[in-house]
Structures are given as C-alpha cells and as structure tokens.
C-alpha cells in the first residue's frame, strides 16, 4: 500500500467511479462517473464544471463523502474514506466538510440561528458554545439581525447566506458548494459568491460545482471540466492567467 505523501492535498480522488445499475436485473449500467482523479489542495478554490448530466453532482457527493464510490479510493485529510460505514462517514463529514446546496436546504421549522447550530449539535458541542458560534457566523454573513427568523421569512439570498454560516459551523477543512447561485438572481448570486471568495481569502478550502463557465473563471483558482463522467480538462489560474494541465 503506497503511503499518501501529499501534505498539501486535503481531498484526493484516485480513479474513482460510480456506476448505477438500472433495470430489473441491473442489466443497464449508468456510468455516472467513470474513473476520475481529483486533487484538492489546502486553501484552493476548486470549481467542478460541466453541463447537466455530466456527473459533476455525483462527483461532488463523493468529494463530500455523502456517497461511496463503486470503485477507486477517496482520501480526506490523508484518511481513506472509501470503505467507511455510513455512520463513520457522517462523523467525518460533520467535522470536516461544510455543505452549501443549490436549494439552500435549511430546516424549515428551525430559526436561522438554530439551523447554524445544528451541525454543532451532532458534534456534541455544548449549548452555550453553539449559540455563541452561531451568532458569530451569522454576523460574518451580515445576518446577525435576522438570526431568529425562520427560513420562510428570509429571501433566497439571505437563506443561502444562512446556509454558508451553517457550512462553516464546525470549522470544516473544506466547504462544498453545489450550484450555490443556481436559485438566485445574478446580483444576489454575486453577493453569495463574494462571501465564498472572502472565505477563500481567509484560507478556507472551497470546492464549487457549477455549470456556468463565467462563475468558474471569475471566482475559482482551479477548474476541473467534466463531461460524460470523465475529466475533460484541468486549468489553473496562475497569476491571473489560465494554464491548462494535462489529464492523465
């Protein structure tokens, strides 16, 4: 077993695939992902880009340890998570990963503050600390005055900012954003992206899934283009210039 010697790599996907078997006998194989390798370095802002149906959401689920691959190995913080049980995965992602979804996915009968407190509850953080932390995080996304509002009392942009605060709740290694602006108009979308960039500048690692090349180019530093379950190309922004990397 080769030792992972990648101090800087926080998430590593090694020839990872995800197949779905459809039909009565599982005779139709849908290859959502067919052997991709991704390295996410600490502090990077990675965009996974591709049209719908390209497999980018499946890739995001695997990167975020929401799902297990059909084959290949996934390392999170140098730990192989490809073969963990569901509960172990839950613990890992609760601690190390923050999610931002296209649909915001706040819990409707909890206030903004309680939504932000929720991930800390599952890490058994004491209540006082949870409250303090949630208030700080909501302050970070300029929503301190709305913390006792329920999601349906907030605009889409505000809900997504609550979701960002929630994603940061357990001080995760990586924030994963799945089409974070998909349900927002362009100006509120920009505001959300500005927050993500602010986080990036403060050193948070961000992985964002998007179908929009402009969003990817304007905000990310590394772009993985996915098509038909395979990686089509990798480009890195080096001092404002996009440089193509080879795909192995």
């Amino acid at each position: 077993m080769k030792k992972q010697n990648l101090q800087n790599v926080i998430i590593k996907l090694e020839n990872v695939g995800k197949y779905y078997y459809m039909g009565e006998e599982g005779e139709n194989v849908v290859k959502a992902l067919d052997g991709i390798s991704i390295d996410v370095e600490k502090g990077d802002f990675v965009a996974i880009m591709g049209p719908s149906g390209s497999g980018k959401s499946t890739g995001m689920n695997l990167v975020g340890s929401l799902d297990l691959p059909s084959f290949g190995e996934i390392y999170l913080d140098n730990e192989n998570i490809s073969h963990l049980t569901e509960s172990e995965l839950a613990q890992v992602r609760g601690k190390k990963i923050g999610f931002i979804f296209q649909q915001f996915n706040l819990i409707s009968n909890l206030t903004a503050k309680e939504n932000v407190m929720l991930p800390m509850l599952f890490q058994e953080t004491p209540k006082e600390q949870r409250e303090e932390e949630a208030e700080n995080l909501l302050g970070l996304v300029d929503l301190k005055d709305r913390m006792d509002h329920y999601p349906n009392q907030l605009s889409g942009g505000q809900q997504q900012r609550v979701a960002i605060a929630r994603a940061l709740a357990n001080n995760p290694e990586v924030v994963l954003a799945d089409e974070p602006t998909g349900n927002l108009d362009s100006s509120t979308g920009e505001r959300v992206l500005d927050f993500l960039e602010k986080l990036h500048k403060q050193g948070t690692t961000i992985v964002m899934v998007t179908h929009d090349p402009n969003i990817a180019k304007n905000h990310a530093k590394t772009i993985y283009s996915i098509k038909d379950g395979k990686i089509e190309g990798v480009s890195k922004n080096i001092n404002g210039k996009w440089v193509k990397h080879s795909v192995n």
Binding site: E86, S87, A90, F99, I107, N109, L110, F122
Partner: protein, 403 residues
C-alpha cells in the same frame, strides 16, 4: 444531547400541530377508556361489595330459592316458617337464629303515596342486637326500635328524601292505612338494606300484612366463623331431609357471605376483563395511528433527514429524534387520557350518585393505575415509532437530499 433532541422533537411535533393532536387523540381515547372504566370498576366493586359487607362473616342466610328481598312470589312452593327456624336453630354449630321479614308496603305521607321495603325488628333483645350490630345500624336523628315498641317505625335516609315534604322524627306516616310514628332516622350506609328500608316491630308487620307463619330470611349466627361453610352444609342437609328433597332439587338456598362475595367478584372480574379487552383494542388502534403518523412524517421529512445527515447526524441520532417524537406522542396521549379518564369517572359517579341519591358509586383513584397507563402509552408510542424511526435512520443521505 438528549435534551437538545427532545427540543428538536417537540419543535417537529408543534410544527405539525393538528396532525400531532389528532394522533394524540387516537391514543388518549384508549387510555381515557381504561382509566375511567377501571376507576369506576373499582368504585363499582366497592359499592357492590359494600352491599354485601353488611353480611358479617359469622352469619349465614337461609332464603327461599328465587326470592330475594322482594315480595313473596307465588311460584315459591314452600316458604320458610317457624318449623324451619327451629330446625336451623338445632343444627350443630348454630348459635342464634333470627327470622326476618322483608316486604313491600304502601307508604303515605303528606298525601303522597310510595311503595317501600318494610322489614321487621324482632321482639327479642338478643336478636335485635344481632340485627343492629351486623348491619351497623345507627340513627342520625331519634333512636332505634326497642323490644317494647309498638306502632313505631325507624326509617332509612332515602325514604326521608323520597317525599317532597321531608319526614321528621315525631311525624306520623301511614303504612297500609295504619298510622305509625317515626321515632328515628337511620344514618346512611353503603347498602339499600339500610338506606331504603322502614323498620317496624315484628308483631306490627305481621298484623299489618296478615302474615301468619312465614319467614323470608333466616339469619343464623354460627358459634365458630371458621366453620361457617360446614354449618351451611349441615343446614342444607337438614332442610333437604325435612323437605324430602334430593341434592339439586332445593327450593331454598343457604348463602355464606364468602359465597355471595365470590359470585359478585366473579361478575366484576368478567366486567373488568371485557373493559380491559376493549381498551387494549383501542390502544392497539392508537398505536397504529402513531405508526401511521410517524411513517408519514418520515416520508415528508426525507429531505430534512438527508440534510441532517449531511451536516453530521449519524443513524443513531436520527433514530433517537424519531423515537423521542413518537414516545412523546404516546406520553402526552397517556397524560391527557389519564386526566380525561379520571374526569369521566368522576362525572359518571356524580351523575349516578345524583340519580340514585346516595354516594353509592365512588371513584377509586389508583395511582399505580394512572402511572402504568401513562407508561404503557409511552411504550406504545415508542414501539409504534420504532419501525418508522429505523426507516428514517437508514435513509441514504444522497437519496434523501435529492428527493
């Protein structure tokens, strides 16, 4: 952490207020039925056994078969008489015998006419003592009958209230067109034998109703109460021999207090079993209601479960949250059900006692019953929630979020 899950669960239940209440309704009807019926059942038992407790443990009764305390029935072939009384008195183990007459007579007071039980008080101080002590008779006003009294009566409390103008001590009442002076009013007791009776000296009653050699009930006090069953058998045998009857052909009955209580208890136990059966069915239905609600809840909240898993909830966390919710449904249902059940029991007892005019049907509050009803309801809630909760906890995070 459990405390936080508890608040999460309460929030979820509140969020689905109407449905939560309807589900709780399903379970509390069952619990209310159990608590009210069992509380009343215990009261009923107290009331009925109270009627029989007037039969002391060292006395047995001999009656014509087929007659209770009612009027003489024409179907009775051979009535008890002085001859039988002597026969019973001479049975080994019998100490004292008391002949008693209990009839129904027409009673008039203040131009109102009623029919009431009239029972006799013998003119023998030893027999009088047995009657007074075994029935625990005491007067509220006036005094009890003495052997020398003539033309005087003592009446039960219910008779006083029966007439629109209350009867008082010293007043005259007309029984079968003959005047009697009321010299005492009895303290209310647990039995209609005390509350709804007019007591008069034996000679007066015999004269009034033209009774010659008839006895309705023979009360026999035994020398040793431990041998009461044996004495009862001997009396039966003697009477059978005297009347030339075979076993099973008896036109009389000898009852010991234990026998009488036993019969009543059997009936009450059967009633209790039926009640518990009905309650069990309704609790089962309530449990199915909880299960249904929880399954619906899991379906509705699939996405929410997915989100919670995405932010780090493990299977056991989800399981616990759902179990607390279903347990709470059961617990709240149990508490409300127990409260309403007690209320119903008190209501029924109030209505019954008002209608009958005595405090005959008391509610017996049993804390073990209430506590176990509530705990049982909690357990029903948890059990009903188990399968839905397992289903919820096993949802895959990806599929749940995507739904």
């Amino acid at each position: 952490m459990i405390k936080d899950y508890f608040f999460l669960a309460v929030g979820n239940l509140k969020h689905r207020g109407l449905r939560s209440w309807l589900t709780i309704l399903g379970i509390f009807i069952g619990i209310a039925a159990v608590v009210s019926l069992i509380s009343l059942g215990a009261g009923l038992k107290t009331a009925v056994t109270g009627q029989f407790s007037t039969l002391s443990v060292d006395k047995l009764t001999v009656q014509n078969a087929g007659t209770g305390f009612g009027p003489p029935g024409s179907t009775v072939v051979e009535k008890l008489n002085e001859h039988d009384l002597r026969l019973v008195e001479n049975v080994k183990g019998v100490d004292v015998v008391v002949p008693r007459l209990v009839r129904v007579a027409k009673v008039e007071y203040n131009k109102e006419l009623k029919f009431n039980f009239v029972a006799d008080i013998p003119s023998n101080s030893k027999q009088i003592d047995i009657i007074y002590s075994s029935l625990n008779l005491e007067t509220e006003n006036g005094r009890l009958l003495k052997e020398s009294d003539k033309g005087k009566v003592v009446i039960g409390k219910d008779i006083v209230d029966e007439f629109s103008k209350n009867i008082e001590v010293g007043k005259k009442i007309v029984i079968q067109r003959t005047d009697f002076e009321v010299i005492g009013i009895l303290k209310p007791g647990s039995s209609f034998q005390i509350n709804q009776v007019i007591l008069m000296p034996t000679p007066d009653l015999k004269e009034l109703l033209n009774i010659e050699d008839e006895i309705d009930i023979i009360i026999a006090q035994v020398e040793n109460k431990d041998k009461i069953e044996e004495v009862a058998k001997s009396i039966e045998e003697e009477l059978r021999k005297d009347r030339n009857l075979d076993i099973g052909e008896e036109d009389f009955s000898v009852q010991t207090p234990i026998e009488a209580l036993g019969t009543v208890n059997t009936i009450l136990n059967i009633i209790n079993l039926i009640v518990i059966g009905i309650a069990a069915i309704s609790l089962l239905v309530g449990g199915v209601g909880i299960m249904n609600t929880m399954y619906t809840s899991v379906l509705e909240r699939t996405r929410e479960i997915g989100i919670m898993k995405a932010v780090g909830a493990q299977n056991k966390d989800i399981l616990l949250i759902f179990l607390i919710e279903s347990g709470l449904l059961g617990l709240i249902g149990g508490i409300i059900g127990a409260g309403i059940g007690l209320g119903l029991a008190f209501g029924a007892s109030f209505v019954a006692n008002n209608a009958l005019g005595t405090n005959i049907l008391d509610v017996a509050i049993s804390f073990p019953l209430i506590i176990s009803a509530i705990l049982f309801s909690l357990v029903v809630g948890i059990i009903s929630g188990t399968f839905p909760a397992i289903q919820a906890s096993k949802l895959s995070a990806v599929d749940a979020i995507r739904s």
